[in-house]
């Protein structure tokens, strides 16, 4: 073999002499898929093939997401909830993607609750979950869903679920919702690489909502986009305008078809977290009012309303009635959650193992006995000291 001569190995198919050529990310043009522009304009040929009822359904779910976030923040402020992270501003990204999923698909979300409602989870269970009551997660598991709290930790697990679907030959996919911050974790890199190498039906739906608590997406990575990261792992990617529900639906529909055939796909949905990271966070410390105002103007619901009006579908939609319905559903869920039965001490010890080991059994019995002998313990348990 002489120098600078092509070889059979595909990695050496093209060679160059002279100065080494740097591969840069600017060699790659990453465009952002969009159907309805910020001003509401669109090309009718690009509109996904959905019927009028489905178009209205998308709107109703987006409003559900917004109302649910608002009500949750509000009850958190009244001390009726632990920490909560609003999804306001991300409705198109969340609903457009989730609308493509089927009940048999698995779903692990970071910041996205309505997709779980769309597959049958109840608002009551979601309230219980955010109150730190394990039964909420038990209910989600019945819909093949979970909320992942430890950032990025769920991605390898989703790869494994997808691998299982591949082994069993099932016609379903496993989906991980993640944020821009999660793309920096080791778990994400290993999971995405693994899924690509094995060719399993995993969909990585990344909501780039511009901030991981206080760190902007620009500071999270030197990469121009998050979508291009997938290419390093040999995985195809789509970058989509996350404020355009139809574009997200279109992109993820196509992605889901490809994933179903055993080719994992990474989707970057460009959106914005309008509220704080969580109810414990003060975003004024790290982002400007101008920036927030600009994204308030780029509201995904308003953009979609323009589309619905143009299509003549808006006349059939009674926005106030939808909001009233969702408010009523939330009220009922909150009332049911408030009536959630007093829990038993054994629940702390249950489900750690299938069979409780003798030492754990002993710890449980000792604790029950102690509570019985020293009821003053409840004074401390009720106090809930805060750090």
């Amino acid at each position: 073999m002489t120098e600078n001569e092509p070889t059979d190995h595909p990695a050496n198919a093209a060679v160059s002499a002279g100065d080494p050529r740097f591969l840069t990310q600017d060699d790659l043009a990453v465009d952002t898929h969009q159907i309805v522009g910020p001003d509401g304009s669109y090309d009718a040929d690009d509109v996904p093939d959905l019927d009028a009822e489905q178009f209205r359904d998308l709107y109703r779910w987006m409003v559900t997401d917004r109302v649910f976030s608002r009500r949750m923040v509000s009850i958190q402020r009244r001390g009726e909830l632990g920490t909560f992270g609003s999804t306001r501003g991300q409705e198109a990204s969340i609903i457009g993607s989730a609308y493509t999923l089927r009940p048999e698909d698995w779903l692990y979300v970071g910041r996205a609750w309505t997709p779980m409602f769309m597959r049958g989870a109840s608002m009551e269970d979601m309230i219980l979950f955010w109150r730190g009551i394990e039964e909420g997660q038990q209910a989600f598991a019945e819909q093949n869903s979970q909320v992942a709290i430890s950032i990025g930790s769920h991605l390898p697990l989703v790869t494994g679920l997808a691998w299982g679907m591949d082994i069993r030959g099932d016609d379903a996919i496993a989906t991980a919702y993640l944020g821009d911050g999660a793309t920096s974790t080791g778990a994400a890199h290993e999971a995405i690489n693994f899924a690509g190498a094995l060719g399993v039906p995993a969909l990585f739906f990344c909501q780039n909502n511009q901030y991981a608590i206080s760190l902007s997406a620009d500071e999270q990575t030197a990469a121009n986009t998050l979508a291009q990261k997938a290419l390093a792992y040999g995985m195809d990617a789509i970058r989509v305008d996350g404020q355009d529900v139809l574009a997200v639906y279109d992109a993820v529909s196509e992605a889901r078809e490809r994933v179903r055939e055993g080719e994992p796909v990474f989707v970057e949905s460009v959106t914005y977290r309008l509220d704080a990271h969580t109810t414990s966070d003060d975003p004024t410390r790290y982002r400007s009012d101008d920036e927030v105002d600009a994204w308030e103007e780029n509201d995904p619901l308003e953009r979609y309303r323009e589309f619905l009006k143009a299509e003549g579908l808006w006349e059939d939609i009674d926005h106030d009635a939808i909001v009233a319905d969702i408010e009523a559903e939330f009220d009922a869920a909150l009332e049911a959650a408030n009536e959630f039965a007093e829990r038993e001490i054994v629940e702390i010890f249950a489900h750690v193992y299938e069979e409780m080991p003798p030492e754990l059994q002993r710890q449980y019995e000792e604790f029950v006995d102690l509570l019985d002998r020293r009821p003053e313990l409840y004074d401390y348990i009720e106090q809930r000291p805060k750090g």
């Binding site: 709290i149 760190l215 750690v352 604790f367 102690l370 002998r373 401390y380 000291p385």
Partner: protein
């Protein structure tokens, strides 16, 4: 000045960054927002973006890069936002930070600090409430520190940053702001590896640290006996001498910790007492600990960690045996 524990952390960082240009502080949300608990507040304004750095969301890289920085001669102080997020970086602690000195026969070292809030009781989400010092104390070559007072926090953190070995600095977040005490404005160290005797007594030794110290002192206050309270302050290396001397004096001992019981630090403390003071014991050593379960989610987390009545119950058992 009067300061809380988290203010003492902040003061120690200001003190040492001013004294030593090699000290760099980094982690998630530590710079611009000043940390989710404000432990790093105003450091960016005072020391600038080269020395106070918001990192990507990358626990493995934060701890691994701290090790590299330290090997290169800097003095990194890395923050892990909650102790439940350290496990991904466990590999870096075990594989690199803790054994670089051993591996190179002292040619290279990793003098670094990883700070993190730990413990339950603040209504946080899953993975935000762990107390796993037993797991980290199990790593040879790593020092594990858990202060329980503002005064000790400043002195121990300054000593940790100046220590020649890697230190995991576990901050008891439940009591981050629960009380103030006088913290000297000047520079001082509380040495690593030395326990403090918080109360002197003759009847029983109660050993605790970090987040459990206020509950332990409260229990002892209600006790109709003369208890000696030992605050370990450093979990690894553990001050066996102070513990043993106290037990030799009192003949009885109770260990109190928040983490799970099995294979926890309490077991090791009991073993050391057995090793060196068995014949002085007048009763079996009692353990008061968290359960061998994950920390319950917030609705039931208050059941998990020991409160004064539970501690009192064990002390009375030790006294009556």
């Amino acid at each position: 000045m009067q300061a809380t524990i988290v203010e003492a952390v902040n003061d120690a960082l200001h003190t040492e960054m001013a004294a030593d240009d090699d000290v760099v502080v980094f982690g998630e949300d530590v710079a611009e927002s000043g940390g989710v608990f404000r432990a790093t507040d105003e450091l960016l304004a005072e020391f600038g973006g080269d020395r106070v750095v918001d990192t990507p969301l990358s626990e493995i890289a934060i701890v691994g890069a701290a090790t590299g920085l330290a090997m290169y001669g800097l003095r990194p102080v890395a923050e892990i936002q909650f102790s439940g997020f350290l496990p991904p970086a466990f590999d870096q602690l075990v594989t690199n930070a803790s054994r670089i000195r051993w591996r190179t026969r002292g040619e290279l070292t990793a003098p670094m600090v990883v700070r993190m809030p730990y413990g339950a009781g603040v209504r946080a989400l899953e993975h935000h409430s762990e107390s796993m010092e037993g797991a980290y104390a199990h790593i040879p070559g790593l020092k594990v520190v858990a202060p329980s007072t503002p005064h000790d926090t400043k002195g121990l953190l300054l000593a940790s940053i100046r220590d020649p070995d890697p230190v995991l600095f576990m901050e008891p977040k439940r009591i981050y702001r629960s009380f103030r005490e006088e913290v000297p404005e000047e520079d001082y160290e509380v040495p690593l590896g030395e326990a403090a005797v918080r109360r002197e007594g003759e009847d029983v030794t109660v050993i605790s640290w970090g987040s459990m110290m206020p509950a332990t002192l409260e229990a002892v206050d209600e006790l109709d006996a003369d208890a000696e309270v030992v605050d370990l302050r450093t979990i690894s290396p553990l001050d066996t001498e102070t513990v043993v001397e106290s037990v030799k004096k009192t003949g009885r001992a109770v260990v109190v910790h928040e983490g799970p019981r099995s294979n926890g630090v309490g077991g090791d403390v009991v073993a050391r007492i057995n090793d060196e003071a068995l014949m002085y014991l007048e009763a079996p050593v009692e353990r008061v600990t968290g359960f061998d379960t994950p920390v319950p989610l917030l609705s039931m987390e208050d059941y998990y960690f020991p409160h004064p009545p539970r501690i009192l119950d064990a002390i009375e058992r030790a006294l009556s045996a």
